[in-house]
Amino acid sequence: MAHFTTLVSRLLPLPVDNVDTDQIIPARFLKTTSKTGLGAALFADWRYLPDGAPRPDFVLNDARYQGAQILLAGANFGCGSSREHAPWALIDYGFRAVISSSFADIFRNNSLKNGLLPIELDTQTLAHLFELCASQPDVEATIDLASQTVWLPDGTQAWFPIDAFSKKCLLEGIDELGYIMRFEAEIAAFEKDMVE
């Protein structure tokens, strides 16, 4: 079940705008029928050389950011297709949150349903985070969902928005399908009205 309360982690900076889901996970990896094991294909075309070796200049292969559970990305992250394989791949790799100045709608929905927290900050704060992260790769951020706050060691803190329902689901581990199923009577009544 998707669950999120707090997280303390390093950040991995990917200062690229409009990162589309074809970059997050290329379509040729979508022939799987499973949700797991996609981490190895995360950002495959940016991450590996043609012979399969890691590209030394791509941030996922930068030793300084190993173990980061927060991805720091440019605006409109996750645009493109509806593939839920994108958050599955990010989670399978080890990310628990993505910070950006905006997210594509379907990607945001898909992430929330899998416990990957999309954190939207204003562009100035995001730029500050990128700077901080470049000068101090081991800097750690603290994310607290209950107070909707990101804390940084330099004393900066930033509030982020999240809809009340998604927040409740993540904090309490509420199952969205279970929530809809509670309305069985209403759904049945709605269907009866449709026929008439």
């Binding site: 499973s34 509806s82 839920e84 594509a104 969205e176």
Partner: protein, 468 residues
């Protein structure tokens, strides 16, 4: 008199089952389209919870993304793709879902067969685990893409939890010049407003240009709403819509048809209805459009020159353009006209319908594909394929030297054997020019079927208006 409502608000309101304060609405879904790539994990979820599909009669499946389009069809050579398609067949059998499978004469790209079979109707809510579900909005439906978790929700409950999106009127006025098409309208719109303009919004396309377009042209425009950031794009139903739908397999008949049309006539946005945002486009001075970069907003009139990153003030945009031009192997300030290409792809849920194929074939007739250029013509469905063959379009394409394929997503998504080689340039009628979208290292120029056909015949990017 109640408050004037938009087309979107009318459909939303009519499908709201529950709305708890502060929570997303429980929205009823009239039609759920399913394909092989985004559904297996959802069916697994049902099995784990021991749930059935609530309304198999409102669920329709087909295989399109990972299916090959070559002549060995329907033998799927790729082991994983074959397994995924077999899984879809098993899931549909187990849960009692109608499947237009590999051997079905009605199989095709999910967004082509929905309207073609009359499954897609005005006023409906339609979802599919595919972002180009927006296509169906052309018939006056509220249609949008969902993720696999949501596919599971809809399979189990026929409902979806949704926050109400905002509305944006996209008004398009003016008469299109010869050689300029619906694809050029949507590419121009995205180039002017960016890939993020529609985030959080539903687009409603209005104006005299939209009214004058055929259903298939409207589908091309609604299809790429997602490339503008909007999950859904809609066009209010009118006589064009009703004429298109009449007599289709799943369209209502007789008395039911008359009642349905009466209901559908009440759907268009009321006079004075408010939108949260408005944008507009003058279609009368549009040229054929082409993209030069790696997102659909990096597009320009075909006679223009590739923009210079140094002239951009925003650092993020500058960096993106530098990266895109490097990937594309293009120089700032260079024209794209006469740029050589190796492949032409005519197909995808954006431009694979009969009118697209007719437009391309009209240009191909009596001409030959340029030496060394590979041309794939991939009809959107087996139905489109049969119609095109009945009109002799396949002969025109083959005689010109193009490949006439079985239907499917083909080279738009490059997970079915059809793909570009690294470094190759292609003019494609599809919807995405993302890095590697058409094959790792492949370089995509998005354009209309006419512009693609012109490039096929000359071997380089060409202004089709000079060939008409």
């Amino acid at each position: 008199m109640s408050r004037p409502q938009t087309l979107f608000e009318k459909i939303w309101q009519a499908h709201q089952v529950v709305q708890e304060p502060g929570f997303p609405a429980v929205l009823y879904i009239d039609l759920h389209l399913v394909h092989e790539v985004t559904s297996p994990q959802a069916f697994d979820g049902l099995r784990k919870r021991q749930l059935r599909v609530r309304r198999p009669d409102r669920t329709v499946a087909t295989a399109d993304h990972s299916t090959p389009t070559h002549d060995g069809f329907p033998v799927v050579m790729d082991v994983m793709a074959a397994q995924q398609i077999r899984q879809l067949e098993q899931n549909c059998q187990e849960f009692g879902i109608r499947l237009y499978g590999m051997d079905s004469p009605q199989r095709g790209i999910v967004h082509v067969i929905g309207p073609e079979l009359g499954l897609t109707q005005p006023g409906m809510t339609i979802v599919c685990g595919d972002s180009h579900t927006a296509t169906h909005g052309a018939l006056g439906a509220l249609a949008f893409g969902i993720g696999t978790s949501e596919v599971e929700h809809v399979l189990a409950t026929q409902c979806l939890l949704q926050h109400k999106p905002k509305t944006c009127e996209v008004r398009i006025e003016g008469r299109l010049a010869p050689g300029v098409s619906a694809k050029d309208i949507i590419l121009a719109l995205i180039a002017q407003n960016g890939v993020g303009a529609g985030v959080g919004y539903v687009f409603e396309y209005t104006g005299s240009t939209i009214r004058s377009l055929s259903m298939e042209e409207r589908m091309t425009i609604c299809n790429m709403s997602i490339e503008g950031g909007a999950r859904a794009g809609m066009v209010a139903p009118d006589e064009t819509t009703f004429e298109y739908l009449a007599g289709r397999q799943f369209a209502p008949r007789g008395k039911a048809w008359e009642k349905a049309v009466e209901r559908w006539r009440r759907l268009p946005s009321d006079d004075g209805a408010m939108y949260d945002k408005r944008i507009s486009l003058d279609a009368s001075n549009l040229e054929p459009m082409i993209t030069y970069g790696t997102n659909p907003a990096m597009g320009m009139p075909i006679s223009a020159r590739v923009p210079d990153p140094d002239r951009l003030t925003d650092a993020g945009e500058r960096a993106a353009l530098v990266k895109a031009l490097e990937y594309m192997g293009l120089q700032p300030g260079q024209p794209l006209l006469d740029h050589p290409i190796q492949t032409v792809f005519i197909g995808s849920c954006t431009n694979s319908r009969l009118s697209d194929l007719r437009a391309a074939a009209a240009l191909f007739k009596g001409r030959k594909v340029a030496p060394g250029v590979r041309v794939l013509v991939v009809p959107g469905s087996q139905g489109v394929k049969r119609q095109a063959e009945a009109e002799g379009l396949d002969r025109i394409f083959r005689e010109a030297g193009a490949e006439w394929r079985q239907s499917g997503c083909s080279m738009c998504i490059a997970m079915n054997g059809d793909k570009l080689d690294p470094g190759q340039y292609a003019v494609s009628t599809s919807n995405r020019n993302f890095e590697g979208r058409q094959g790792k290292g492949g370089r995509t120029f998005l354009a209309s079927p006419l512009t693609a056909a012109a490039a096929a015949l000359t071997g380089k990017i060409t202004d089709v208006r000079q060939m008409l």
